[in-house]
Structure formats: structure tokens, C-alpha cells
């Protein structure tokens, strides 16, 4: 499935993609730029609301906007390294005994744009609203609808202490669910459960919703766009605030937050405005209609357009976080055999697939050899080297060795059992309709499998059907779609843990189960440090290759283009997008 940009894991806001805490800020030079000015970033999705942590508004472009408005504890730079936002939190202490405990020290100067200090209450509220715990409710008693609960559901308590100026702790209130938690504290203590430590804790508390506003207007719908001036009351705790939103034009204007207590943003205003399709991008930059453009998908034609535009347009193509792969449904009578899956993997020439599809736009794209980490991540370990080159002979030998398939004169294997007994071994491959790259991939795969002796039928569905009923319902043989490479390795657990655990492994659609895998995934999620986390997850990945659970193909390339008149624009392959450092952008 192509998980569209609209749906991004919430915690991907602060994507952890590198080992090491407190890595250095943007490891690229920051050339001098002029102070002031305006920049326009294309906005190619219709906004539904401003609460990016709510399921209805969890859109990529909104994330790009709100990360400049609502504060985040850790952010990711263009080198995919984590940086503590010391404007918000001056230090974070971590201890693992007796339970994993984080202690955040909030910057004493940090305030919301209405003058209310940023305190523990904001952390308490953001935990409660995203914990998935039905004990906490939104305005009017409604259940919270967060876009994700990973990490927050592992926390058992968030408590404040050390109010500013030596004041005493507020009592809090039962109605606000913060009674006895010292909500006005400038120190925040977060405790995880004894059995639920969480290794990717740096991804928590991204784009923090102001508690006092959230409780007043409601988490679920209070930040929805009604076009009635809501945006003018939207509080800011970061460099910019939402000055205006035009619903009919779908444009957002950010202006410098006058209440910001630290180094302010460089540009006076950042405008997010209108392109609805990728063809508008490069001409839009050339004509000056907008200055930064991130297409939904990257094509060779677009890159050629950018090249032809000359020096007025700068662009960058790099591997993104989405990766294409093949799912093998082990409920299928033939795919449940490991040797059949291995035969398919050996028969697939991933380099050829890439060369005939995305490789034309991004020639440096290479096969992905890890299910959990991407090529560009330092934790990446190439666990799938055995499948780097097509090996038709080995594929055929594997099928023959099962003694369940006979190679017939027509060049196809005939099973000796099951629904295809005596007929050509046929498997369906399914993907989303209307995607030329996937169509091309399926056709090339079909041709490659013909050489192996397996007949492939292409059966595609609309995305809503494919992910709504076909794949979750197990009505497929092989499926081709993309996962968003989780910035937190823990985000993969529900995909690869045993499918028999329906509560925690709801995204395991391949009917895979393995106790050792479950143990490694659990150990990875509870790892005390990033090095251990990477070790456990790479071991888990090795099992996924050994069992040929799914076959990763490649990381999808992403493109960013911008007007050469602006400096400090550093494309970011993580889901935070190119505005991760927009506060430093400026005219050259």
C-alpha cells in the first residue's frame, strides 16, 4: 500500500533515525541570509484542522506547518540525527531503575503566546490524550481520537514539580485529570511501566498541544477548521504563529511569534499556499508563485523539468522513508512453504525492478536489505545480501526440492497438491490501481517469475478496498505496497509480531508467527539504549529474512525543489519534511 502523505505515524514528527542522543544541530553550513522577508511553501493537501496529533488532521503538510507553531522536545535534522530543543527543554535525565524514568527540565522562559507558561500540565495533557487510556476523556466526555498511541500507552504517570519562582504546586483538578500532579511544575517526571519500557522515548512530546486551550475547545474537534476565526486564537509556543487561514483558498500564513522567548525566526512570514498537483511545482517556482515544493511522488519528468529550469531552481532527490515491498500471504496453500517464498525471492531481480521504475528518476536507488531500518540510517544492517542477485537456478532447485512441484514442458511448475494441483502454479499479485510505477513493477515481476516457472496474475484494487478489506481479510497472495519506514523501530512491532496476537499485532497481514521474533521485538522496544535497540531489531530482521516473511524492494526517492534565491533550505528525508529548519531560512 502506498501510505499517503496524509497518514503519517504521529510520533514520526520527531523521527529517531540515528544512534546517539543530543547529536549536533544541522550538520550543514548555514550561509548568511538576509533578515526578514517572506517565503511561500506549496500546500498540496486540504487542511481539516490544526491538531496534527488528532486522527482527522494527521497530514504531512500540517505537520510541516505546526512544527513551527507548537513546540517539540526533540527534532530531527537533515542528517537524521536527533537534537534536543533547548529552547523548550534545557535538559533531559534518563534513568532505568527501578523503572524507565525521564525527567524533563522545561526552560523557565518558555511561554505560550497568550503569556501562559509552558508547564508540566501540557505534558500531562498530551500524554493523557494520546495514551489510549479510556479513563481520560476529551471535552464533553468524548473519547480522545489520537493518530497514534505508541510510547504514550507505555507511560504510567506524568507528574510536575518545581514550579517557577519557588511557587507551590497547583493542586490540579479532577475535571482536568491533573489532580495532585503539580501541573504548574517546570520539571516533568515521566514514568513507564515496569513491563513497558519504551526505547524510542525521544519521539514523544512532539508538537505539544497547549493544555489550557485543548481542554477549553476540545482535542478531537476544537482545532478543526471552521473558517470562523479559530486560527486567530490558536496559541503558539514556537517561532511562528498562525496569522491567518483562508479556507476557500486553503492558504495558511505564519508570522513571527512576538512572544517567543529565544532566538526568533528569520523570515517575517511563511506562507503555505496552493498547488494541487505535482505538475504545478517547477513552473510555480519559476514564476515565483511559490518558492518551496515537495511533490507527492517523484518522477523522471519532474527531475528533468527541474534541470531544465536552470539556476533559478535548486532541487534535491534522496531516498525517503517509504519503502516498497512484497507481502507473502502465508495462509496461501503454497506460500506457506518457506522454500516457495525463498524461490520467489531468489527469482526476483530487484535491481532490474528498480532500473525499470524509480531508478529512472533516481539512479542511485538500490535494493533495500532490511525490513526495519532504511539504507540511510546508521542502524541499517544489510541482512538480505543473499538476495542481491537473481538466481533462477536456485529458485527452481528450491521448488524441486520440496517434491511438491513438477516442472512441466510449458515451463511452469505444477503442484501435486492443493487448489492448483495439476495446473500451472499461479499466484496473484495485488496492488493499488492507478499507480504506473506499481503497474510496471508488477509486469516486470510477472516476467521474472515466468523464468522461475511461476505464473503471476495481476489483480489490483482501489486503495480503500486493498487496505480496507483485501489485505486485512487475507484475500490476496502477494501484495505490493509501501510502508513508511518507521522512525521508531518500535513502530514495526505490530507488523512483524505473531499474527495470533490480534491485540498487538494487528498489522501482521502475512500470517507470520515466530516466538523468537516476538521476544526480540519486545526486547528491542524495551531496550535501555539505542545500541541495544538496534542490536535486537537487527536480530529480529535477520529472522524475517531467514523466514522470507516479506521482500523489501527499495526506498522510494523523494524530491524537494526550491527557489535558488533562498538559503538554508536543507531537505529532510524524515517525515518532518523540509520545514524542519524553516526558522533559519532567508533570502540570500
Amino acid at each position: 500500500m502506498k501510505i499517503s502523505k496524509k497518514i503519517r505515524p504521529l510520533l514520526a514528527v520527531v523521527a529517531t533515525l540515528a544512534l546517539g542522543m543530543n547529536a549536533l544541530v544541522a550538520s550543514a553550513s548555514t550561509p548568511k541570509v538576509q533578515a526578514g522577508g517572506t517565503i511561500t511553501v506549496d500546500l498540496n493537501e486540504t487542511l481539516a484542522g490544526f491538531n496534527v496529533n488528532n486522527v482527522n488532521s494527521n497530514e504531512f503538510v500540517l505537520q510541516e506547518i505546526m512544527q513551527l507553531v507548537w513546540p517539540t522536545v526533540y527534532f530531527v535534522n537533515n542528517k537524521l540525527a536527533l537534537t534536543l530543543n533547548t529552547d523548550l527543554v534545557t535538559k533531559v535525565a534518563v534513568s532505568s531503575k527501578p523503572v524507565e524514568t525521564l525527567t524533563y527540565t522545561i526552560n523557565p522562559k518558555a511561554v505560550w503566546s497568550d503569556g501562559t507558561p509552558i508547564t508540566a500540565d501540557d505534558f500531562i495533557y498530551n500524554w493523557q490524550s494520546q495514551s489510549g487510556n479510556p479513563a481520560f476523556t476529551d471535552k464533553g466526555g468524548a473519547a480522545f481520537q489520537p493518530a497514534g498511541t505508541t510510547g504514550y500507552s507505555s507511560i504510567v504517570s506524568v507528574k510536575g514539580s518545581n514550579p517557577a519562582g519557588g511557587a507551590s504546586c497547583d493542586a490540579g483538578s479532577a475535571a482536568d485529570f491533573n489532580a495532585g500532579l503539580c501541573p504548574n511544575g517546570k520539571t516533568v517526571t515521566v514514568k513507564f511501566g515496569a513491563k513497558t519500557p519504551f526505547a524510542d522515548w525521544q519521539g514523544l512530546f512532539g508538537m505539544i498541544v497547549p493544555a489550557h486551550q485543548g481542554r477549553l475547545v476540545g482535542w478531537n474537534t476544537g482545532f478543526n477548521i471552521n473558517g470562523g476565526g479559530d486560527e486567530s486564537t490558536l496559541l503558539s509556543g514556537s517561532w511562528y504563529y498562525v496569522s491567518s487561514y483562508n479556507q476557500s483558498a486553503n492558504t495558511v500564513v505564519l508570522k513571527k511569534n512576538p512572544s517567543y522567548w529565544a532566538k526568533p525566526g528569520n523570515l517575517d512570514s511563511i506562507v503555505f499556499a496552493g498547488s494541487t498537483d505535482d505538475t504545478s511545482g517547477i513552473p510555480g517556482i519559476q514564476s515565483g508563485t511559490f518558492n518551496v515544493f515537495e511533490p507527492v511522488s517523484t518522477s523522471l519528468a519532474m527531475i528533468q523539468q527541474a534541470q531544465a529550469a536552470g539556476s533559478s531552481v535548486s532541487y534535491n532527490v534522496q531516498p525517503g522513508l517509504q519503502f516498497e515491498h512484497f507481502d507473502f500471504n502465508q495462509a496461501n496453500a503454497y506460500l506457506k512453504m518457506l522454500k516457495v517464498r525463498q524461490a520467489i525471492a531468489y527469482g526476483t531481480d530487484r535491481s532490474e525492478l528498480i532500473a525499470l521504475t524509480v531508478g529512472q528518476a533516481a539512479p542511485t536507488t538500490k535494493p533495500l536489505n532490511n525490513h526495519i531500518y532504511m539504507n540511510t540510517q546508521p542502524q541499517y544492517k544489510s541482512n538480505g545480501n543473499a538476495y542481491n542477485h537473481q538466481n533462477i537456478a536456485k529458485a527452481k532447485a528450491l521448488l524441486k526440492s520440496t517434491k511438491k512441484f513438477k516442472l512441466e514442458k510449458d515451463g511452469y511448475f505444477h503442484p501435486t497438491y492443493g487448489p492448483e494441483k495439476g495446473k500451472d502454479l499461479s499466484l496473484n499479485i495485488s496492488s493499488t490501481t492507478g499507480n504506473p510505477i506499481r503497474s510496471q513493477t508488477e509486469q516486470v515481476f510477472q516476467f521474472q517469475m515466468k523464468k522461475v516457472g511461476i505464473k503471476i496474475n495481476i489483480v489490483n484494487y482501489a486503495a480503500g478496498d486493498l487496505f480496507g478489506t483485501v489485505i486485512p481479510g487475507g484475500r490476496y497472495d502477494i501484495a505490493e505496497f509501501a510502508w513508511v519506514g518507521s522512525p521508531f523501530a518500535t513502530g514495526n512491532n505490530s507488523i512483524y509480531c505473531s499474527y495470533t496476537n490480534k491485540a498487538d499485532c494487528g498489522s501482521n497481514w502475512v500470517h507470520f508467527k515466530n516466538k523468537t521474533e516476538d521476544k526480540l521485538l519486545a526486547e528491542g522496544a524495551a531496550a535501555a539504549n539505542p545500541a541495544d535497540e538496534a542490536k535486537f531489531y537487527n536480530e529480529a530482521d535477520a529472522i524475517l529474512w531467514k523466514d522470507m516473511v516479506t521482500l523489501p524492494l527499495y526506498q522510494k526517492p523523494i524530491m524537494t525543489a526550491w527557489s535558488s534565491a533562498y538559503g538554508n533550505i536543507l531537505p529532510n528525508a524524515s517525515s518532518v519534511g523540509s520545514t524542519w529548519n524553516a526558522q533559519t531560512w532567508g533570502l540570500k
Binding site: 500500500m1 501510505i3 499517503s4 497518514i7 505515524p9 510520533l11 486540504t46 484542522g49 486522527v55 482527522n56 489510549g132 479510556p134 473519547a143 481520537q145 489520537p146 493518530a147 497514534g148 498511541t149 478531537n220 478543526n224 471552521n226 473558517g227 491567518s244 476557500s248 483558498a249 486553503n250 492558504t251 495558511v252 500564513v253 506562507v271 499556499a273 496552493g274 498547488s275 494541487t276 498537483d277 505538475t279 504545478s280 513552473p283 510555480g284 519559476q286 514564476s287 515565483g288 508563485t289 484494487y461 482501489a462 486503495a463 480503500g464 478496498d465 487496505f467 480496507g468 478489506t469 489485505i471 486485512p472 505496497f481 510502508w483 518507521s486 505490530s494 507488523i495 494487528g506 498489522s507
Partner: protein
Amino acid sequence: MTTYILRRLAIGVGVLLLASVLVFTLVAESGNPLGPLLANPLTPQSTIRLKILALHLNDPLWQRYWIWFSHVIRGDFGVSNNGLGVGHQLQIHMFVTLRMVILSTVLSIFLAISVGLISALRNGTVVDRGVSVVNFVFLSVPVFVVGLVLKTFVAVPIDQHFNRVVLATAGEQNPLATGNFFQRLPDYASHTILPTLTLVLATYASWAIYQRSTLLDVMNSDYVRLARAKGISPRRVLLRHILRNALIPVTTVIALDFAGILGGAVITETVYGWNGLGRFFLDGVNNLDVNVTLAYLMLTAVIVILFNLMADIAYGFLDPRIRYGKR
């Protein structure tokens, strides 16, 4: 005439109801609107359950239709999949589209009549043939191609020459523009010229060809020959006899084509990044949003029915030989 209008309106309501049942069934059965959420391993199950309840996805189809219908007859188009009021969104997007469509229609009419007239008056000459070729080119070229060509080969060179945005290639207005309507008029014009021109070029050609054909018919008719024979000036013959009669069929064709212009506007809006009905509809289709899709389709169905009726009524008024009602 009144009876005829009332009868047509009644039939129109019936057609609307039937269309709503058909469209509702098609959209509701097209797939699961929660597909993308379900495919995201991080979406909590509690959130999915709440969305299923909110969208009535577990209810039988007839019940879902009844919920929708019982709200629509009270003017409530419901909420979209992401919780926004559909009626309010429809209104906002409609005004954006109507701005382009009305301007395009008026300009297309003038252009079609002018071009058709020139072509008919210069029938058989190089001018006529040249104009016909141009007409057929614009009739054949898809509207999005026209848009892309205008953006790339007209707007970009002009903007680069003047080093500022003279012809905007995306969006309906500059979000930073301030002032009253007249102060913002240059900005509106800058953003409206290209999309309007695109839609005009995509629309006028068929009308121009039809206008030329009807003009030639009328010019060769007996009463026009008689008028000339009576010594009436060519200008008066053209305006009072030829053009007036030749406009009748074209008027009805334009009224009937209005729904097609809306369809063209959907594509034009996509090319130019306008947040109009086109985007509203496409978002609804992509998200399998029943309420949004139905709201758009009901609106266009009403427009088609009304304009068809207007075409019939206009024909009756313009041509005294046509009478409706009991004979």
C-alpha cells in the same frame, strides 16, 4: 407553460432521488474509507472503532442512506470523514468555482459568437479555414494540456521577464494581499487570467463550430434573401435577421453544456491549484467520502436539471413556433 415547468420540476426531483440512491450505493460500496487508517500500524484500535461508529460503517446500506437522506432534506449535508461540515465546505468551494466558471462562460460566449460569425461571413476563404483549424485544435486538446502549455510557455517567460508574478500559476489569490476588493483586484486578476483562459479555450471551440453552422443555415434561408432583396442594409440584415435567429439554437446548446463546463473546471482547478468544487469532489472520491461525493453530485445534478429546464423555456420564448403545455 406553468404546467409544463411544474411537471418538469417534479420529474427533476424524481431524477434527483434516483440519482442519489444510485450514487450513494456506488460510493458506499466502492471500498472502505478507513483503508489508509487501517493500513497504518500505529493507528489505535479505539480510534478506528470510533470512526466506524461515527461514519455508520457497520450499519446496513439502506440505513446509511436513510440517515443521509433524512438530513439532506433538512438542509444538512452531514460531516466529511475528517469531521468538517459538508454544507459549509460546499458553499466555500462553490463560490471559488463559480467565479471562474461564470467568467469563463461569458467570455466563451463572446468568443464563440465572434469567431463563428467571422468564420461564417468569410465562408470558404483562408480566414474561415484557418479559424476552423484553430477551433478543431482546441476542441481536440485536453484542457489540462492547454493549462500546462499556458503555464510553461506563457506565464513563466512573462514572470521571469518582469521578475515578479504577473501571471500566477497556482492558487486563487496571494494570501498576503491586503486591502478592499478593488485594491486586491490586480492580485485576483493575476491569479484568474490563466485558469479562465484555459477554460475558455477548452469551451468556446464547439460553440463556435456550431454557431458557424447555424449562421450558414440562416444566411442561406429564404427570408434572409427576401430581406436583402427588399434593400435592407447588410448590417441590419445581419443583426435583425441572421444573428438573432442563429443565436437561438446556440443559446440552448450553451445552457445544456453548462454542466460540462463544471466538469472542465474540475480539471482546470486541479492544474492551477484552485480550492474549488473540483478539489472538493476529488478529495471526496479519493477518501471514499460518501457525504462529500453526494453533496457534489447533488449540486451538479440540480444544476443540470435547472439548466435543461432553462434551455427549454428559453427556446420557447425565443422561437414563437415553440409552445409548451396542452395543445
